[in-house]
Amino acid sequence: MGIQTHFNKFHNKIKLDRKDDAYRKARERDDSIKTQVKTAFREAGYPVVDEFIQGSLNTRTGIVPISGDYDIDRALVIDDEKAPENPVTPKKKALDVLENRGFKNAKIKKPCVTADYARDNVHIDFVIYKRSGDQYYLAVGKKNSDEDNREWSFADPLGLMEWISDFSDYYDDEAADVRNQFRRLVRYLKRWRDEQFSDIVATKVYSIGLTVMIKEQFQVSFSTEGARQDLQALRETVGAILDAGYFTEEQAGRYRVHVYLPVEPWRDIFDGSSLDTGTQLYNKLKSLKQKLAEAEELSDERKQCEILNNLFGDDFGVPDPPKEGSNTEKEKYSSAGIVTSSVGA
């Protein structure tokens, strides 16, 4: 059994598919609320002409959340000619629907309207676009944004998802394997982020940012016999990300991260991101690369798994030690340890 077997098991544990049961409940919630928002839009004179799920569930790079909260990005598209001039108008309409249904924490964010079903651990983002021909415009703006801070902004949500899934540079017979390795790498790095960063910082290391970096710097790795080599692929891809110029050192040892959308509006995904986020991401990626290289050098599978378990958490399993492992050498200490006058309840 090689290390790849452990990666395969890990991947099976963390991958989230649209067909998964865990996701179905989230989807049912989403369907019921979506119908009401659509009705409200139709009554307001701008019917929904198209809708789709965007994000990782579409690109098949979703992972089972360790927080237990399932996210859905639901895109609703209205026709350009019927769309109100103010992009915040339909967002307020969606907010009304959510508030009438009793969501206390529903709110308008700059790119979307969000709602939490705390009871079911479901978090839905409604993303509203208008469409003119093939061109999409995203409704950008917060509830009280003035004219300067709201706009129908050029966007290409379908183009982005196509770009992520496009492996047409590879021969047909290998494209599927390559694409699947890419998807696994994205899932590994997302779980790594959730494990290694505090909850607050983890939300700022955007999944789409990681996905774009991995896609742009992806180093595919299969053995000459065609066997998957995810450990090597991941180590090389992380190395390429570090060398690709996404990180600029603004002060000694302090980094800012910039990753540009590969489609319209070509904006920096990490626009407004702090030096702290950039620095943490840079340093942790560097440490990740080093640990992956250490694991690659080892021949003891259990030791390799221990390193990977520390990076990716307990879904990366560590096999039991052999029986003679119980004769492990014991640490010798210089003192007995201090018993404090403990209390408990």
């Binding site: 505090s198 221990e306 378990n309 520390n310 307990d314 560590v318 039991d320 029986k323 119980s326 004769n327 492990t328 050498e329 014991k330 640490e331 010798k332 200490y333 210089s334 003192s335 007995a336 340890g337 201090i338 018993v339 404090t340 006058s341 403990s342 209390v343 408990g344 309840a345």
Partner: protein, 171 residues
Amino acid sequence: MIKTATSVAGDCMYCFEGYGRRVIVNDEVAEVWHEHRQTVVTACESFGVLMGTTSVDRREIWIEAVTTPMPRDRHSRFSFALRDPGHQRAVCRKFTSSDGRAIYLGTWHTHPEPVPKPSCIDRSDWVTCLRANRGRPLAFVLVGTKEVRVFVRSRGRFRPLQRRCKSDGFN
């Protein structure tokens, strides 16, 4: 449970894993916990310190002995205060007799609930224990009426380890 193999700590009844750590509990200790479960409404909380050895990399710990409430401790159904110096003396004796290998490894106490959860008081007390024993791989045990849970500090939080037993393939 079929006893097929022995570990250093004797037959091991419980093994807990996670966060790069493994905690192995020997039978005598598991029995002490079992006896002290708060299954009777009037039973007080029981508690004590954990003693045992660790691997050189300090990732594996073997809980080989525990202390139980002593005369100068205080306890009620919902709280306790470990004050008797006898606990420290027990730790020092183990340390000496093991040639410096058996040390203080944390605390245990009972909760009158099936699946015990640490209270705020528990967590803040555990922080105090860790501060007094920097660099030591301490674990904290809660003994519920149905389950025993082991917690370790990992990345700023106390996290429960997953229980495994022999029938799950451990040793």
